[in-house]
Amino acid sequence: MNRKQIMKNWFLQRPMWIFPGLLLAFASCTDFIIEMDPQDQWKVLDSGKIVLHYRPSGFSSSPSPDLDEARTIVRNQNIYYRAIQDSVQVSFEDKVLVYLFNDDEAEKLIGTNTGGHAIPKFNSFYFAYMPNRRPVTDQYHIENPIVGSHELVHVITHRALGYPESKMMSEGYAMWLDGLYGGYHIEDIIRKYRDEEPEKLMDPNQLLTESIDKESVYYPNCGIFTRFLIASYGLEEINRLFTCPADRFKKAFQEVTGESWDSMSRKYDRYLEKL
């Protein structure tokens, strides 16, 4: 019996060998799902309730914020921090940690170079530094904000009101309080959809079921709808629905506001017509 036959017999006699072998090969560690890559080269500016981590000058081929920009970001975030609490009527006193990645590394390290995302459990959000954003003045009268209030809203609302189950409420609050998408005011976007692209205008049912998940369509619609809900039914009532699951939302809405979902939907149609 030659060596090849010996090997073949050996494996045939031990078919279970394949089981741990394959698992070792494919699942030998958790790094194929997630790689731990803590970035520690930061300059830190801690002021008020905001701790900004930003890259030092010359860190990469993309520009890093200079000290003046860092101060502006922190000052603006502190303004948003208070404004969000006033708007949502919640108390939140923790510091928020902001990690600002340079443009050329952001896609790889945080998954986007056109925005960011929040991890409320750690009072943190990650954001891409975009020095050449579209000039705009936001609803807090801040000109050309480098980092808007969207992710800060997620941190504060999720920590103070709870983790929302529906995207409609999570993104709705963030868009309502940020008021901008891609450098445009969300009511301008919705007016344009209403007048020129009505297929992009989403009704409450579509928002609840996320029937259009394209972000540039869903987010502005969510923001305007949340603004309508709060203006029409009161902040306290809508805050109570913040963590309500999508499949129970309609019933809970009626219990909290005393109005049926269908009746509210008709009112929302009229609201959009007058926008």
């Binding site: 698992l23 731990m36 830190v44 940690l97």
Partner: protein, 269 residues
Amino acid sequence: MFLLAPFFVMGQDLDTTNTAKPRWELSARWMNYRSFSQQKLDIPMKGGYPILQSRTLALEAGYTLVKGKVQHTFRINAGLPASLQADAGTGSNRLLEERGNTHFRSGMNHQLTFPLFQWKGLNGRHGFSSGLLYERRSLVYLSGSQETTRDINFYLGPSLKLRYALSSSWKIKAGFDAHFYLPYLNYGQLTARNSRDEIAFSSDYRGFYYQTIFRLGVSSGILTPNPIELGVLKNDMVGFASRKPSFEATDIVHFKLDRLLHFYLKYRF
């Protein structure tokens, strides 16, 4: 004479692969725990700052039983409740109070293994590992608001054990376990309190986690009549938990991006 004496004592092979006698084991572990934030959400994900970390002592007791070629090992372990610290990225905290943050971890495990191969001094066994893991983590943020998570999780996965006899007294041991935690087989509770100690939010959750455990140790029977094993264990756990059992990360209430490193000392008798 005292120093030389152990070298005259023949190391007795007490590994149950060679004996039918049931064996007990006791081990002490120095456990380093680091829990990462989710810096990048889409796969391959990235864990980053802030990091929660703790160090504590854990104890484990085990019992091994052999029936024919089948070997059962039952283990139970618990760590002392550990104080958690946060690192925001530059060694500073900025997230948690200095006191009141705790992490506790306890578990039970059953390893069922069969002979895989025997080649010269190298011996391999393979089989299954299953058990329960209980974790409790309480965070007290700088404002005094809190978040407590408690979960009990069942897992199942393949297990591989390797042993190489360097001599009759010295052995190198290695092992690999992969644990799959299915959302239908575990349960957790999250409670968030504001700084006035009022409940701001509470929710049940079901986790979907994946864990790998690598062990590497050296066992010697020359210093004591029964073997002592010294080693290191790398324990990585990743996954998320939703309100309802789900394999999709759509409604994340809790997550575990944890790296644990244990240094252990084990005594078999």
